[in-house]
Symmetry: C2
Amino acid sequence: MILIKVGGGKQINLNYVSEDIKKLIDDGEKIVLVHGASGTRDEIARRLNSETKTIVSPSGVSSVYTDTKAVDIFLMVYAGLVNKHIVAKLQQNGINAIGLSGIDGQLWKGKRKKVIYSQEGKKTKLISDSMTGKVDKINTDLINLLLNNQYIPVVCPPALSENNEIINTDNDWAAAIMAGTLKIEEMVVLFEAPGFLKKFGDESSLIKTVDKNKLDQYMIYAQGRMKKKLLGAKEAFRLGLKKMYWSDGRIKNPIINALKGLGTIIS
Amino acid sequence: MILIKVGGGKQINLNYVSEDIKKLIDDGEKIVLVHGASGTRDEIARRLNSETKTIVSPSGVSSVYTDTKAVDIFLMVYAGLVNKHIVAKLQQNGINAIGLSGIDGQLWKGKRKKVIYSQEGKKTKLISDSMTGKVDKINTDLINLLLNNQYIPVVCPPALSENNEIINTDNDWAAAIMAGTLKIEEMVVLFEAPGFLKKFGDESSLIKTVDKNKLDQYMIYAQGRMKKKLLGAKEAFRLGLKKMYWSDGRIKNPIINALKGLGTIIS
């Protein structure tokens, strides 16, 4: 079983992703797909005059500020527009996909963070209306039920809180937890870069291999959202993941090339 | 097994609907829910400067004009925003719901109408970019798989065409086909009126009972979208449905009252 996490950048080529998934399934592989939609979300949020706001935690990790209005945009773009277009694309490639958000069937559950902190210059601001949380429980029965009946799950945020409120959640973390609890050994992470870069934006600075036991040491190279990917990776390995591939979602054969080691291999 | 179709009007009380579903499930009933979202769709379409356009067929049946832009709004509002809020509400009531569009797992399939006609005064206009079609095939295995594993399916448009394009589809028709192919004997249709009215808008003109074999005779009382409900009803009875209840989705105990005959019973 392979878990594939596809980023939400607009340059990711979903046709190529879909073609590779078809090949893997035809070879007898079981696939779980998790996707983002940040590019489209920002676009729709702008059109709705409700622009995406990013906050940075005191420890330097950036995330999207999510109140109930932003949750609604998440629902529209992640669970609606993008999820269903991916499902239809997979169907067009002969893959019987089913789209699920973390809400459906209690797939992703986490505790709502009632208070979060935002670093604004030298000031630390307290935010109390945030509808966010960290996923800590996965309905693996549901994923296995679908896979055992030849359906391919296509999963995205948001998730449910302990009180079944709709909460936004870090996708990389949730995907990692899902890989771990499903006892998946290989996970492919696709985004708009050739892999993990030492220098942000410099594609020649690709790190080919990373020791899974030394992930902390790589934190200095991680910009913005990459920090979250590293934190997710660390948790996935703690839960039993064997190999993680970070690779380019813009190129032909993105998954097969990732598995061949074209990008970064963490193991 | 009961199929419940909840209209998309903003006055429908989803808390009441959810409470009744919980009672029915606790009594051992299997439930499939199909919902609309037309009220919210019109609102979001306006905010996106892409207002909903209605067309009327030469035979007088009105429907939403759906090009690929309108399909995207459907995806956002039906499969995203409204579907997931209903699923979360059911979860809050202790019901393990799973939201599905007709796209997921090939749940609803139909043939795309390549050409449709719109009556504009005395002129008949031909429309060729319409992404619409009539559902004629249901993945009943998927619904049964979920029900047999204690999940409650919450279903909405759009559907897939024979070529797996995303198509908008008449919800009442699709719900009727689903009831028929699932061999469901009872179907409850909730909307913003006490039942089937002889005079549109006059709540005292409620028709208490309708003979399922004489549905055609009632077409004269049906305004706009009600015509579609009658056409759907006719098809559902042809497929084996025994009883259909049309009732008020705004009141307390909407489903239980419907089953008691508070609205219109077609049988």
